[in-house]
């Protein structure tokens, strides 16, 4: 089975149809909306597999199908679809993970009164995300990119009755918009200097050698495009929205804010990789390294189950950006794929826990869930080990190794490697803490004590994702298949030359796991109120990290205050400056009006009135002739006829 590029639009179109069905369905038609969403995504998954078959048949061919959107006089705006291995792999990942999350959602959202809307939004999101992936035009990509942002906004604020959820949705939307502004500027600049936004266009596309050679000095363009990725992928300094986005329902967190949407920034960077200059890449690498470290540090001190995972996502996205920055976009995509599976697994596992514990998310209140929730615990542990990078068996290890090796081989600086290695320790540490606090020991609250295993509709997706979290190792080992598929030219450096680095990172993972076990696992917390071991040792550091390094406060004190001062100034200017001028003008207008009225009434109107009156009089006189008497009219006609005859006979008119 294969799919031609002309039919690629079907992949995003199917979920879009499902979204329309969901939107038009009657209020309570949860089953209809869910069935439509799942059926559409299944179809999209099959089509994606077809696309993958097409791409695998000819990995180097960029099969594009372009069409004209509208004509502008000189030159038309053209959009298009593209199949290459990157697109196809992303499509399969998004549809497969999305499908499992949709199925999970039917269990998780069953009791929600607005579940129908939920599936409508989810389908909309899937359509937009697939649109981002299959677009062959940066313009089309941008449109879908913004649609993805909209869907994210709708889903974070899905429980808008909660003020925090509404605020989080707003925060996510506004923060990502800052990045998107940069992206838009980058696109305009690109359009101006290259004359096209198509990626592949038979030699005339952006990513083809002829145009690339003509784009001199594109560092600024690359950085502007990176701005969009910074916003969407939660990179430092715009990472603040991602943890707050956890106010949305947990399947949303899994799908959008862990597996797919936040990876869109990484995907964008991988897509436009040829456009990025070494300077731009350096900025990207350092941003990624800082993000990876900050995310991992903050994650160590959070107490909310989902927030730990959110900061972990921030950190892992930092890794991916780091890989892009050091020039190994294949490693970034590899980590993106593996991360999508194991992070979706972790989030859905968290959702299962939250569902069972009646929406208790504080890990201090949980505990002891290993017994009652065996499937959830087992799958969650697999996800945790994949994320922590436990060697050899788990896919996360291989993708993380790929990134670390690429960073090691980077010629510019070794600093990102050290931050990356530090983040490895921290990742293993906080994941151990999370699992130990949630699943080990004894239940520390009423809901945790009464927790029970979730239904099969929720545990089966978990098991499938767990299997994938392990099996995805095959993409890199025993043969670097993904590397050969995506970028054969750079496939030379395999893991053999870095056994030392691998041993070091394995040791660091062991250190992180051991430290976590020593502090949290060996002697589990007994009461929910007892102090965190880390907080007991370094209370000020812990408090600083627990407050998320005070980024929100910092932004409130700088940008927030500046914006407020600007608003006060603008208000004063408006009230006293502009308003005064407007009032003066208004006075002037009134005066002119008065003068006009006087002149009108005395001068012009009198003349018109006299004319009208005389017209009226004439009309009245004529109207008297219309008597309504048909005999009178007939008589007049006959009389007129006789006169006419006489005139003809005697007047000589012939």
């Amino acid at each position: 089975m294969s799919l031609s590029a002309d039919l690629l639009w079907l992949i995003p179109a199917l979920p879009l149809i499902a979204a329309v069905v969901g939107a038009c369905a009657p209020r309570g038609a949860f089953k209809l909306a869910a069935a439509a969403a799942i059926a559409a995504l299944t179809g999209a998954l099959l089509l994606s597999c077809g696309a993958l078959a097409t791409a695998l048949a000819a990995p180097a061919a960029k099969l594009a199908s372009n069409f004209t959107w509208f004509d502008l006089g000189h030159g038309a705006v053209r959009l298009g679809w593209l199949i290459d291995p990157l697109t196809a792999l992303m499509c399969v990942m998004v549809t497969f993970v999305g499908l499992l999350i949709f199925v999970f959602s039917t269990g998780y959202m069953r009791d929600d009164a607005r579940a129908k809307q939920f599936f409508c939004f989810l389908s909309l999101f899937a359509a937009a995300m697939l649109g981002v992936i299959v677009a062959n035009s940066l313009l089309l990509l941008f449109v879908c990119w913004e649609l993805v942002g909209l869907a994210s906004y709708l889903l974070i604020g899905f429980w808008f009755q909660k003020p925090e959820a509404a605020a989080a949705a707003k925060k996510a939307f506004v923060t990502t918009r800052i990045g998107d502004l940069g992206l838009l500027l980058g696109l305009l600049w690109l359009q101006d200097s290259a004359g096209t936004l198509l990626l592949y266009d038979g030699g005339k596309g952006l990513l083809e050698p002829a145009v690339l050679a003509g784009l001199g000095g594109s560092t600024a363009i690359g950085l502007l495009l990176f701005c969009g990725a910074v916003g969407k992928s939660g990179q430092f300094p715009l990472h603040v929205w991602l943890p707050d986005a956890m106010e949305g329902p947990t399947p949303v967190s899994a799908l959008i804010h862990a597996a797919t949407m936040v990876a869109a920034g990484v995907f964008l960077m991988a897509r436009v990789f040829p456009l990025l200059t070494p300077d731009a890449l350096t900025v990207i690498a350092f941003t990624g390294a800082v993000t990876a470290l900050i995310g991992a540090l903050i994650a160590c001190a959070q107490n909310d189950l989902k927030r730990i995972l959110a900061f972990s996502t921030v950190s892992q996205l930092g890794y991916m950006m780091l890989a892009i920055g050091v020039g190994s976009w294949v490693a970034a995509i590899f980590h993106l794929l593996t991360h999508a599976f194991f992070k979706a697994l972790l989030f859905l596992g968290a959702g299962s826990v939250i569902h069972a514990a009646h929406h208790e998310q504080d890990i201090r209140q949980l505990g002891g869930l290993r017994g009652p929730m065996r499937v959830t615990f087992a799958t969650f542990a697999i996800g945790m080990m994949a994320l922590a990078g436990v060697p050899f068996l788990f896919s996360g290890f291989w993708s993380k190794e790929a990134i670390l090796h690429a960073t090691h081989a980077w010629g510019v600086s070794q600093l990102p490697l050290y931050t990356g290695l530090a983040a490895v320790v921290l990742t293993a540490f906080y994941m151990t803490r999370l699992v130990a606090e949630t699943f080990l020991g004894a239940p520390r609250s009423e809901p945790a004590a009464h927790a029970h295993e979730s239904p099969a509709v929720m545990t089966v997706p978990l098991a499938l994702l767990a299997a994938c979290a392990i099996l995805l190792s095959l993409l890199a080992w025993p043969s670097p298949w993904l590397q050969l598929l995506l970028d054969p030219s750079a496939a030379a450096n395999d893991h053999a030359d870095g056994v030392g680095l691998m041993a070091l990172s394995i040791a660091l993972v062991a250190l992180g796991l051991g430290a976590g076990w020593a502090m949290y696992g060996r002697k589990p917390r007994e009461k929910s109120m007892s102090a965190d071991p880390l907080a007991a040792r370094a209370p000020r550091v812990f408090a600083f990290l627990a407050a998320r390094m005070k980024f929100d406060e910092l932004y409130a004190a700088t940008f927030g205050r500046a914006a407020y001062a600007l608003a006060v100034f603008a208000d004063a200017l408006d009230r006293h400056g502009w308003d005064g001028a407007v009032r003066l003008l208004a006075r002037l207008g009134r005066f002119t009006g008065l003068v006009n009225r006087e002149a009108d009434e005395d001068g012009l109107n009198a003349g018109f009135d006299a004319t009208s009156e005389s017209l009226r009089k004439t009309g009245r006189a004529y109207s008297r002739a219309q008597t309504g008497d048909a005999h009178g009219y007939l008589l007049m006609i006959a009389f007129g006829f006789v006169v006419l005859v006489f005139a003809v006979l005697f007047g000589g008119a012939r």
Binding site: G628, A630, H631, L634
Partner: protein, 105 residues
Amino acid sequence: MSLSPLQLCLLFSSALFCVGLFGALARSNTILVLLGIELMLNAANLNFIAFWRFGGAHAPASGVLFAIFSIAVAAAEAAVGLALVIAIYRHQKNIRLQDASRLKG
């Protein structure tokens, strides 16, 4: 003085026209007024035939055709007229033409 057939026909049609005009002017019953008007119309039809039959060089059947057209138009006109009469009757419960003067200015 002797009259040609054409002149006799014209005199006859004039008489018919005058009778029709008198009827249309003198009667107050709307139907009879319509009848008068039909008489006037038929006087005109008679003229068509007379000029065709007794006039100068004549095209074959042209006068007859004119008359047939005219009769057809008259039939349509009579239908409209009778419909108006019915409408007037519905309105004022009689068909006196003098009373139907409500639309005057």
